[in-house]
Symmetry: C2
Subunit: 378 residues, 2 copies
């Protein structure tokens, strides 16, 4: 449960109750991070150096002279289990949609450092060779993957399609993607050294749950009499919950590329994934992020907040609540940034600003404040 | 079963009988490859181009101007299940060893194109948060991963450690690695355009099964009265089968880097993984590969051949049989290449040569010939 001002009913379904225990994972994550950091010494033999500030950020950055090289590996996570359940129940394949999600997980992280994504590699580990024997499903996955590559302007370089009986659960597939890109010119590097009071915060619309908060959604579906079939509208109409969850994650690289082309400098980016709006506190510096405008909440997220009985502190601290990506730009560029995003077909809001002050995110319209204690990623 | 001259006893345990059906996976693999290839059009907007010959090779190569950029994602596969079984039975952790295997799967493929590996990203997807709660095991994994990065001279950039209950089998972990490197100077590109009759074939020693043929080994262990506890020596002594399987894969990048430093040009490389020595036929061109010298077979592989009742055609066509990597160099450089490898602590043999002729690999010491029909990777 998030510290802040949250006081939830006893039957509220929080992320912790949904079986995601960040505390248990984190100490080993920290050990891995320290060990990883120590390997930087290996770069000297190649005459290369890393950008140390990229460690702990969403993508790792190497200085290769004429450009920076950014790389990442990301996975879809458990969203595939929702696609599996809906496929079993309705015969509708959303594997093309979750292919886009998987690429979004990698690309939306890679672009936060200012990189142009260039190559994606596919990692599709089936629970058995049989996974690929359902050619309709496999074809949907492939087509969705290719379409997402086309949207992001990346070359799909190849990948792995192992059959891992005993490692991956029978009947499902573990989807992940690696992505490589270049920060070029080097001035596009957006690791936040230019992030400063006075900067504007522009939020880009999400399409729904994206690929975070899925464990909560799955747990919630078990509570619902109609499960994934439950309509998400407050009036009992609307899209079925399962299908609403499977709206594919928005790909934000067209926006960051369009901004670069228009000469708009981006000081920092946040991909709003796990930890929801607490991610606004991601940068290490001590600053206050004041939000005066919040996006319309997608119906599937309103439904989840309502049905899981989450107050705003918990909902905005866990889910993206309509904001999938945050851009931190000079105040003079704020409106233009939002317009360029809209030109890419993505709703955008000049939502707030960066101020001098303690590390906190003040979400004025809902009266919620997250402090540094609410986000411990490093 | 491999076509060639194989005639096996009825109770022989072939790769096909071990449940690995390449035929079932391949048509979708081909569809994925065609779709992937179509995305090359996306590179034009960045003023970049791919090296088309790298598609279907072991790593994907992009021309970024001053250098080539190579990238890859690879997984450990089911070898983790052997580590799990041995850990349960003996309490001995081989997770550091399989960490090295995972990096080897990526790095040994990446270097085949002539790239210097620079960055590795970790993908460790546990069946639950609990996987990481066993800190001794997790620490061994981390330490092995770091040590392998140090051997390969790469920076461990970061990665993902998701807990994927329901996707990854409870109690185990799906391990994969992505790797990025540069081919610099560009003349190091070793995609085989200079591969020609008269070239020498230098084989580098394997440490055992590496991470291919593991399904066969697992199936075999079920046949053995003592299972993984069975000594691998012909006289009933020697290392236990399970632990022998878990000898970590040799990391070959120190050899390719040392060759570059010594000015020895490599025309082509083959990472001997799945398909065993049939991989010698990997390059698309029509040539004959004649082998006159074969390495000593590691005890674990002799044991597997004996116990699974494989003839040489099946054994060399499935397992590495002591040769983990093949370098194709100018004849004048052959001895020096082997010496440089030995200087890196890796046994090496000037094992044969490339000849004009039909596409076949003639393994003279064992009287086995593989033809183009025996290897269909593309």
């Amino acid at each position: 449960m998030i510290a802040a001002q949250s006081s939830l009913p006893a039957d509220a379904l929080t992320y912790e109750k949904a079986g995601v225990n960040y505390d248990q994972v984190d100490p080993i994550k920290l050990l891995a991070q320290r060990s990883a950091k120590a390997t930087v010494a290996n770069l000297a033999q190649h005459g290369l150096s890393e950008i140390a500030a990229s460690r702990g950020e969403s993508a790792y950055v190497l200085d290769i002279g004429h450009a920076y090289l950014a790389s990442i590996v990301e996975c879809l996570g458990t969203k595939v289990l929702v696609a599996d359940a809906v496929y079993r129940a309705t015969g509708k394949s959303f594997y093309g949609a979750i292919a886009q999600d998987t690429i979004a997980m990698a690309v939306n992280d890679l672009i936060t450092v200012g990189a142009t994504p260039l190559v994606v590699q596919a990692y599709w580990a089936g629970g058995s060779s049989d996974w690929f024997a359902d050619t309709a499903r496999a074809t949907d996955l492939i087509n969705g993957w290719k379409a997402a590559c086309d949207v992001c302007g990346v070359s799909w370089g190849g990948g792995e399609t192992p059959a891992l009986a005993g490692v991956v659960a029978e009947g499902t597939i573990d989807l992940a993607a690696s992505c490589v890109g270049l920060v070029q010119p080097k001035s596009r590097l957006s690791l936040g050294d230019k992030l400063a009071p006075g900067n504007a915060i522009v939020l880009l619309a999400s399409s729904g749950i994206h690929a975070n908060g899925v464990s909560l959604a799955r747990k919630l579906s078990e509570r619902l009499p109609q499960g994934y079939n439950t309509p998400v509208g407050a009036d009992g109409t609307g899209q079925a919950f399962g299908e609403a969850i499977l709206a594919p994650t928005v790909l934000y690289s067209p926006v960051t590329e369009a901004l670069a082309e228009a000469g708009v400098a981006v000081n920092y980016c946040v991909n709003v994934t796990g930890h929801g709006w607490r991610k606004l506190l991601r940068h290490t510096s001590e600053m206050t992020y004041r939000i005066h405008t919040i996006p319309t909440v997608p119906p599937v997220l309103s439904f989840m907040q309502r049905e899981a009985k989450l107050d705003n502190t918990e909902a905005y601290g866990t889910l993206n609540m309509g904001a999938g990506f945050a851009l931190f730009v000079e105040a003079k560029d704020a409106e233009r940034t939002a317009e360029i995003a809209r030109g890419c077909g993505i709703a955008a809001w000049v939502a707030g600003s960066v101020e001098a002050g303690p590390k906190q995110a003040i979400i004025e319209p809902i009266g919620v404040t997250y402090s540094a204690d609410d986000l411990k990623l490093r």
